[in-house]
């Protein structure tokens, strides 16, 4: 948990992008190799190493450059001029709703679809002329696609058998990769005798044994139940850390993408809307769609009344005058959309005492409290008739007063630093 938090913080820093110079397979610098199994030790440019006690990370694999890729199925434009740079060793997610083109893009990289235009380069070399079996990429399929007539062992051994590898090498390698996914005990079983999670792991071992430079994962966890999904996600992350190759992960689940990715490309209707770290995507969505698709949000329109530096004054129909921050503020008079995340809003029975400049305060009535175990969500009606979503962790010892209930009068407050301008309308 602690490690994860540190990583999260690091991702906000602009200099933290993982950049590996040509030809170097592992990152130089003062790296500790305690190997304590914590996910994601991140080596940074200039030999900075974050995450106390994280293990050495080997970066292998290829960089993948997708340039102006277009693909349509009949009238339907699956991909419309998509360009993405994926770095060597990166855990990169393609995130979007179904039909956004993310799976088509993955299939183009794998070689199962040919684009109508554009190029796909692996380490600078175009892979488009190559058939799927000649590409140094392997895929973990959504439905696992395990060979039902072969045992777990033979499924994993499949690509080695194709290369007619000697029996001794096959045995050694297969058991290595079965060990990686902790399935040694199931080697002689048939896929039909395995649980969903086990099948998934066979599919991963089978794809990795070929030592691809890029692993493509097509919604690999979508067939698993929520708990198992969480578990497999952590396993995937640790496998990525051990193997060190580029992972391209397709998912429609923003939670999955946020928790494991180095960077995410959010897609919709065949176009890439935003590429960034999970923090950038979540904290500074580039479009209304991204803001709505990633997590829950409150999204409103407003007019810019004044700009001073990064501080922007807005006039909203819902809350009157409020203040937000923007790194690239639009000029006064612009019509914009802005957002505040539900968990960034403080909710309480009493008016916030220490309200200073830059804190927006709104009063309202709890219209709908939704209890969900570890937290509660409140729909709060404001005097203007707008409704705000607020998420609150349950009270701990430091909180005062009773829990919030239905029809309570409440005070909402949020900082200008947590409210962002998303799109400029005009």
């Amino acid at each position: 948990m602690e490690a994860r938090k540190l990583i999260d913080i690091s991702m906000n820093l602009p200099h933290c992008a993982l950049r590996i110079e040509d030809g170097s397979d592992s990152v130089a610098g003062p790296v500790s190799a305690t190997g304590n199994g914590l996910p994601r030790g991140r080596a940074l440019q200039g030999g900075i190493m974050e995450c106390g006690g994280a293990k050495k990370k080997t970066v292998k694999g290829s960089d993948v450059v997708i340039e102006h890729v277009r693909k349509s199925f009949g009238e339907f434009k699956a991909l419309d001029d998509v360009s993405i740079d994926i770095r060597k060793g990166e855990f990169f997610s393609l995130l979007g709703p179904s039909g956004c083109g993310k799976t088509t893009l993955l299939r183009i990289i794998a070689g199962f679809e040919a684009p109508e235009g554009g190029s796909v380069l692996l380490d600078g070399q175009s892979v488009l002329p190559l058939p799927p079996d000649a590409r140094r990429v392997n895929t973990v399929f959504q439905n696992y696609a395990l060979f039902p007539h072969l045992s777990v062992f033979e499924n994993v051994a499949f690509s080695l058998r194709l290369k007619r590898a000697p029996e001794a090498i096959v045995k050694a390698r297969v058991s290595d990769y079965l060990a990686l996914v902790e399935l040694q005990a199931h080697a002689s079983k048939k896929p039909s005798q395995l649980s969903g999670g086990q099948k998934q792991r066979v599919a991963i071992a089978r794809a990795l044994i070929n030592e691809p430079s890029v692993l493509l994962l097509d919604e690999p966890l979508s067939a698993l139940d929520a708990k198992l999904r969480q578990h497999m996600l952590i396993e995937l992350d640790s496998i990525h850390d051990k193997i060190g190759i580029t992972f391209i992960y397709v998912t429609h689940d923003q939670q999955e993408a946020l928790s494991v990715s180095d960077r995410i490309a959010v897609m919709n209707s065949g176009a890439v809307l935003q590429i960034g770290t999970p923090q950038e995507i979540y904290e500074a969505p580039a479009t209304d769609f991204v803001a709505r698709f990633i997590g829950e949000t409150n999204l409103y329109e407003a007019d810019v009344t004044a700009v001073s530096g990064e501080r922007v004054d807005l006039l909203t129909a819902e809350f009157g005058a409020i203040v937000v921050t923007a790194t690239n503020p639009p000029p006064a008079g612009s019509r914009i959309s802005w957002t505040i995340r539900p968990e960034k809003i403080r909710i309480g029975h009493t008016e916030p005492r220490a309200a200073r400049d830059g804190i927006n305060v709104v009063s309202g009535v709890v219209a709908e409290p939704i209890y969900s175990g570890f937290q509660s969500k409140f729909y709060v009606d404001t005097a203007s008739g707008a409704q705000l979503k607020v998420i609150k962790q349950h009270a701990d010892w430091s909180d005062e007063g009773p829990e919030l209930a239905w029809k309570d009068d409440v005070w909402l407050s949020f900082s200008a630093e947590d409210a962002y301008i998303v799109e400029v309308r005009r």
Partner: protein
């Protein structure tokens, strides 16, 4: 008799009664008659005399029978192999096509015409004064009619034509259920198109291949009308031999004995095939969970 345990008591047995009666009367009884006849003495004008003998089986040792059997096996194997080679790609194409219903229809349409009439249609096409020869002559490709009919090739061609639908249908229905993403997975793992088909498609549609093989091989092995109408002396098959013994030589016990041999050979063949298929489906697990391996490869190094 084949009275299953508890047939009289359980309702299941009662429900099975009509089909049991049907099978007993129309399948087992004729079979019993053939078995019995094969051990009897031929009557002077056909039929049998009720004095048991093994003469019929001794007569089988005759070299003619051996020659006809070899020819039958060659024709049956050849025609079945060609049928399968055509039927597998056809079934595959049908299963992947968007126009499955139209294609299914096209496969079924020949059944609307009588089997014998379709053979005569082939005679009309391939005969010395048939359409094909007319065409070749009028195009000047040949000087005189080509003798297409009355040889082994013509028999095989018409047999393949006749039994192709029986092979295509079970193959189509099996391939239709096949998960084609498995082929993509195989390609992804480095298999060429052909090796993906050999290593992944064929093992998984094995049931359909077996059914198609049996549906083709068994009737072709017992073929009678096709070699009779489009075959010559060299393509004389066991079916024709039986018919001739029955109607011309009037040696019913010999005809019955030859039938018995065919029945035994095909039954044995089918049983062996089913068993081989069954064991290899369940088998192939000769790889034990391998022992922990050394640090020989890159993975070991990465750990």
């Amino acid at each position: 008799m084949t009275r299953l345990p508890g047939t009289a008591k359980t309702p299941g047995g009662l429900y099975a009664a009509p089909s049991l009666v049907w099978l007993s009367v129309f399948f087992l009884a004729p079979l019993a008659i053939i078995v019995a006849y094969s051990f009897l003495t031929p009557g002077a004008l056909g039929g049998v005399e009720w004095s048991p003998t093994l003469d019929a089986y001794r007569a089988i040792a005759n070299p003619t029978f051996g020659k006809v059997t070899v020819n039958t096996i060659i024709v049956a194997m050849g025609a079945t192999a060609i049928t399968m080679l055509i039927a597998i790609p056809c079934g595959y194409y049908m299963a992947r096509s968007e126009h499955q219903n139209i294609l299914l229809m096209l496969v079924m349409i020949p059944f609307w015409t009588n089997f014998l009439i379709r053979i005569y249609a082939w005679i009309a096409i391939l005969g010395n004064e048939g359409f094909l020869n007319d065409l070749l002559l009028s195009l000047g490709l040949v000087d005189q009619s080509v003798r297409f009919l009355y040889n082994r090739g013509a028999v095989m061609l018409v047999l393949v034509y006749t039994y192709l639908p029986y092979a295509i249908l079970p193959l189509y229905s099996t391939i239709d259920k096949f998960d084609f993403s498995l082929l993509e997975a195989a390609r992804d793992l480095g298999a060429s198109k052909m090796s993906a088909i050999n290593r992944v498609l064929l093992p998984n549609i094995r049931g359909g291949v077996l059914t198609a093989f049996l549906f083709t091989f068994i009737p072709i092995f017992g073929a009678y009308a096709v070699p009779l109408l489009v075959g010559g002396t060299e393509s004389y098959m066991l079916g024709n031999l039986i018919a001739d013994e029955l109607t011309k030589s009037r040696d019913w016990p010999l005809a019955s004995a030859i039938s018995m041999v065919i029945t035994l050979v095909t039954t044995l063949g089918v049983l062996l095939l089913l068993r081989a298929n069954g064991t290899s489906v369940l088998g192939g697990d000769d790889h034990e969970a391998a022992e922990p391996a050394g640090e020989a490869d890159a993975l070991g190094a990465a750990r």
